[in-house]
Homo-oligomer: 226 residues x 2
DNA sequence: ATTGCCGGATTGTCCGACAATCCGACAGCG
DNA sequence: CGCTGTCGGATTGTCGGACAATCCGGCAAT
């Protein structure tokens, strides 16, 4: 056993629990806009609609609630969370803390983590250039921002950031009609990374802070329109 | 309806769902050391021991797992999480990010939040002076540290910090025999706040960083002994 | 030493049931 | 008209039982 490299290291298999698959499907439905925010998720209806028992559906709902995608009111069931301005502000404030902390760690971070961020950037910019779908644009954009948090090299902080992004996705799913100026964002993002490569961490931090504040403002505006 | 202050604003009632009570009881048992880390939490046994159905117990276990207090292995059940050095390091790194971000915001934070931090400090120091129980010392100490995160004025970041502290409590529950130099810590903490009052944010940040690094080292050492 | 098989224990999932609670409607009553 | 009490339907919270799938340890067979 000792000293020998595992010959099957590349093998793995993900067995998807039924609960997980149900949660995945619900997430997808929410982020794809099939379920408007505020829609009540009735247990019996959803259960037989998905072909699962009420017990397992309840468990899946618990997952969604824990992720902040849905809210549960005692004795009144769970419904798709409706992002109010207050929570949007909070999510943006929280993500700013995490991402800025990541930026400030650029120099000390592991090279592979920096590379991941660079890769995420090119994935995003190419998606922008090729005029990808709004959905993939959002995903690439969030993946890029997650790259900053990954610089902190802390699985828990990354997981926290992902739950924050889940709430952002929920909010964005409501305003997907508004195609924002993605090209401009791509430009500002490459500029940001270039500042980092040059060693200007403070400049990048203030730049990112401004970008995040702008994103928060955009979301709030778009959300207040209807 | 408009302009009138709610005459019943002070009223509220917390109806404790059975699941919540079960989760609370399990948390208490874990943090009080009644359940050693690694102990498997058998569903049928625990369910009838607590006088609840297996369904509700399962749901409560899901809560514990989501909080990181327990871990679930597919088809093998959930057991009390055993804090390995890697996760300890991660938790400490994550809390450092959050607490340091809070310290850096001392000047801009709301006065009431600063006051809460001051109150938490005196609560802790008096507990130290009066030789309170190890358990309450831990609680006051963590409450003080949480005060830094509260300076960020973000409910989500506070909630994240609390789950991090839950994992810390779990680790501390394993080494409660070792009574650490709480008096010294109280001194360093008051010194830290005094630096903040004086406006020396950078000094307080480096001080807190060192303190957190020391705490991480202490926990890792104490955990490696047995 | 490895493999194959078996039996008990435990989880994952399903089903049906029931009380508690909530909601809307509707009647009663000042 | 506004407020209060009541009723029925719908939904959740919790329960108990059931069963296949999976895991684990031991033991036999190769």
């Amino acid at each position: 056993m000792r000293g020998m490299t595992d010959p099957f290291g590349s093998l793995s298999l993900e067995l998807a629990s039924t609960v997980d698959r149900v949660a995945d499907e619900l997430r997808r439905a929410v982020f794809d806009g099939e379920l408007e925010s505020g829609t009540p998720l009735r247990e019996v209806a959803l259960a037989e609609s998905l072909g699962v028992s009420r017990s397992t559906l309840r468990e899946a709902l618990g997952v969604l609630v824990a992720e902040g995608i849905a809210v549960r009111e005692p004795n009144r069931g769970v419904s798709v969370a409706s992002p109010d301005p207050e929570s949007i502000r909070d999510v943006c404030r929280a993500r700013a803390v995490l991402e800025l902390a990541g930026v400030r760690r650029w120099a000390e971070a592991d090279e592979s983590l920096r590379d991941e961020l660079r890769d995420a950037l090119v994935a995003y910019t190419t998606a922008v250039r090729e005029g990808a779908s709004y959905h993939t644009l959002n995903e690439r954009h969030l993946a890029f921002h997650l790259g900053f948090v990954q610089l902190l090299d802390s699985p828990r902080l990354v997981a926290m950031a992902e739950t924050l992004y889940a709430e952002l996705r929920l909010a964005l799913a409501q305003i997907d009609r508004i195609r924002r100026n993605a090209h401009d964002q791509a430009g500002s993002h490459t500029r940001l990374v270039m500042m980092l490569e040059r060693g200007d961490v403070d400049g990048a931090a203030t730049d990112l802070g401004a970008h995040l504040a702008g994103a928060e403002r955009d979301i709030l505006e778009a959300l207040a329109l209807p």
